[in-house]
Symmetry: C2
Subunit: 488 residues, 2 copies
């Protein structure tokens, strides 16, 4: 337990270094900080894959159920980590650094070709990583497993095919949107001070206090649960949209998960959220299911009007709520609406799967991207910057991560249906500014467990079944119907 | 070199954790952060005192002069660290944590007695630590050596006796001060926004840029050179004094030292300032020799008047400069003026030396404190809170640190005399807002060397002689004469 506590502390320290780099570090110190992070990351890895840890895990006789779960989880991670040669890990890290630099240049030049050889190298190294696990059913399995422990590619593919087949007609059925039909004052700026005040008010209502949370600004919003008592979220302020509020709600969802984990799991491998998709289910639930609900806007509207009168004074909460749920067929994932978002992700999942399978050549990737965007979303991609080059993930060698975004939404849909059964008056509670029942429900049923259960076990326990896109699709359909009625 | 780089990176990481704890951490996360810091500190120590480091140092064949200096410094530190049993280190840490808590309570209760047994324990453990070095000439030597490598107690005592014997008559000769005689608007508040603007202006003039520096607020101002390219200083804002400016200048001096160290020494044991006293020489030089000089105030006055018109508009720079150099016989070290400060420190040095020698019992400490304050400063100590309990150091088991404050001033005095010879027009430069000549002189003669030279070697190289309080005393005498003339 002491060895694992050390590894956990080092991991937390690495997280703090990463947070500091984005939020505090003077920008001229990036290279020097890179050395600090590399050393802490390397030591974290070394101290964990050490022979002695294996001996201790082998000989472990847990004193209670938590220790039994710790040993089980640690053995799983240890066996996986020991299978990958240190040389390969170092090569992957180096290649990713080079590819990321090449991606930045290629994006600036708006040209995929110069990036292609670097991406090929990342794909090749990921395939070599995968080959360290010859027993895997599918070469993508070991990559996906890093983010969704235990999930097989076949499961992810089945779920996301059903999601895709539900979303494509849903999106196709939405009439071409027209911003001017939304009744929002498009030219009216949202002063930063007012946005800050609104974000503060929302966080206070959600139960955030200065004893355990902080909010900062970052170019790409993220959240860090340094410890369960030290939750740091970030947002950004744009003069012409409400992203600051929604990104805060999103990061709050991540942060609340880490905050409500059982303190008894601190300094163990179980003291984090269950998986990437489970984490995303929490962020998306607060951003979308809560933040775009009628109840939320009934509560929020007077605060929005007080903080940003120029923008909100002439609007009703119904107009705002309809507007923040508008569906728009656009090119960029990170600014996509709730309904089209899943299709953006599925495009990426299908393409990276084909790359890892060797069914798709990197050279053919841009054309394949553009084809899928046309057939799933009905949009034409004008250039690579607004197409295949828009996300950083592949340049960093991150394969297996994208599907967790969509699976997170699927899980959120299943949770939301379950929560609706158990807390039927939730929308009324939101309207009264009361978010505590939802917060507590999530703490009790999801958060406190940390990683004690495997992701699929947790899902079974909470919703009584396996991964199922049905509830999420039904939720989106209901929303679209309500919106169409409002428009009519 | 790789092993030492790792240890250096861990040390830097620990420094960042400490900075974060004071500046960023949500206050409810202190205990969890304590675990992170303890783990990083322990690993830093373990990785350094490892047998393998000893073998590598034994077998090292340096490829250049820097590597030769690295090996020499690392061997010295390694031999010292290996002599202290890990159990004793752990006991010292534990006792210090307990004593610090007891000190906080005792301070609140304004009573020394309940703190006495904890202080006794700290003294006893420091004596045991000292006993790990039986060859030491004096039991205080190994403690002092942690902060002033190579300095013997006899040297420190000789220098500080001379300083004391010079300061006591100097202070006694100052007429009883009368705040109202200083022509400053004592009741006029200094709004925080104006103080912030003034501090910013001063830092820009000193050469601070956002690429490598940041300024934050902290309850007890400090500075952290996380890396030479990431210098973080802190200050605090009081409505009724200019501490924000002087503490910023002080921390700038520390920060500039770390910032100007030769980048080739990064990630080695040589990449820090030469010693605690050398560091203090830099902070005190910028705070006092620069920040209380006529030239500085000729330059600063229009900026001060623009930032804080209510306070400064009716004053001349001469009035302000006289006021910031006023001598006041007071009880508290941290707010003492430049002339009496040394005596506050010498009281502590003499008492802790007697404790370690076994010549003074902890029970007799308050009376001994009060006696010395009377005989050196001519003040009566009304209670322990304003007396023996005012500083945290002893509660943390820090013996050997106090003298470095006064030795730092002595070194600053020697440097200032030397700089005056080489840059005779410095005061005129300050008046023109030009601080670059001084900054560069210090970079060239002091900063860039880091820890390549032992503290006494560095002093010999820069001023051509050993530690000598003469120049510092002469500097203070000149100031008092100038001030007396202005008053006349």
């Amino acid at each position: 337990m002491a060895r694992l506590a050390e590894v956990a502390d080092l991991g937390r320290t690495a997280m703090l270094l990463a947070w500091d780099q984005e939020v505090c570090m003077p920008r001229g110190a990036a290279a020097e900080h890179g050395e600090l992070r590399a050393t802490v990351d390397r030591l974290t890895h070394e101290r964990f894959v050490d022979d002695r840890v294996g001996e201790l895990l082998e000989a472990a006789s847990p004193r209670d159920e938590i220790e039994a779960d710790v040993v089980r989880a640690a053995r799983r991670e240890y066996d996986k980590a020991r299978r990958v040669p240190a040389d390969l890990v170092a090569e992957i890290t180096r290649a990713a650094a080079n590819a990321r630099a090449a991606w930045l240049e290629a994006t600036e030049a708006n040209a995929f070709a110069p990036f292609a050889p670097f991406l090929e190298r990342n794909v090749e190294l990921s395939r070599r990583l995968s080959a360290c696990f010859p027993e895997a059913e599918h070469p993508y399995d070991p990559l996906l497993d890093d983010f969704e422990p235990g999930m097989r590619t076949a499961d992810a593919r089945a779920a996301l095919e059903r999601l895709r087949d539900g979303l494509v007609p849903l999106v196709a059925g939405v009439p071409p949107s027209d911003d001017s039909s939304l009744d929002l004052p498009a030219d009216e700026p949202l002063p930063e001070a007012g946005q800050r005040a609104l974000v503060r008010t929302a966080l206070e209502a959600l139960g955030v206090d200065d004893d355990h949370w902080r909010l900062d600004e970052a170019a790409h919003p993220f959240s860090s649960g340094i410890t369960s008592g030290d939750i740091r979220i970030t947002t950004r302020y744009h003069e012409h949209d409400l992203e600051s509020l929604f990104s805060t709600l999103h990061e709050f969802g991540h942060g609340l998960y880490e905050h409500q984990i059982d303190p008894a799991l601190a300094r163990t491998p179980l003291g984090h959220g269950a998986s990437a998709a489970w984490h995303e289910s929490q962020s998306r639930l607060w951003e979308n299911m809560v933040g775009r609900s009628p109840g939320f806007w009934r509560w929020c509207m007077p605060h929005a009007q007080a903080a940003l009168p120029g923008y909100f004074a002439q609007l009703t909460w119904q107009e705002v709520q309809r507007s923040v749920n508008a569906v728009r067929r656009t090119l960029i994932r990170v600014s996509a609406d709730e309904v089209t978002y899943g299709l953006h992700v599925i495009v990426r999942f299908e393409l990276e799967l084909a790359l890892i399978e060797g069914e798709l050549e990197v050279a053919d990737l841009p054309a394949a991207w553009n084809d899928r965007m046309r057939s799933y979303l009905g949009v034409e991609v004008p250039d690579d910057r607004q197409g295949v080059l828009q996300d950083v993930h592949w340049s960093e060698g991150l394969f297996g991560y994208f599907p967790t975004y969509a699976i997170g939404n699927v899980i959120a849909g299943q949770l939301w249906a379950r929560i609706g059964d158990e807390l039927p008056d939730l929308d009324e509670r939101f309207a009264a500014g009361d978010f505590s029942a939802l917060r507590e429900w999530l703490g009790e049923h999801v958060h406190r467990h940390g990683r004690r259960l495997m992701p699929d076990e947790l899902l079974e326990r909470v919703v009584g079944g396996p991964l199922d896109p049905g509830p999420y699709l039904a939720y989106l359909e209901r929303k679209l119907q309500a919106s169409a009625q409002l428009m009519a």
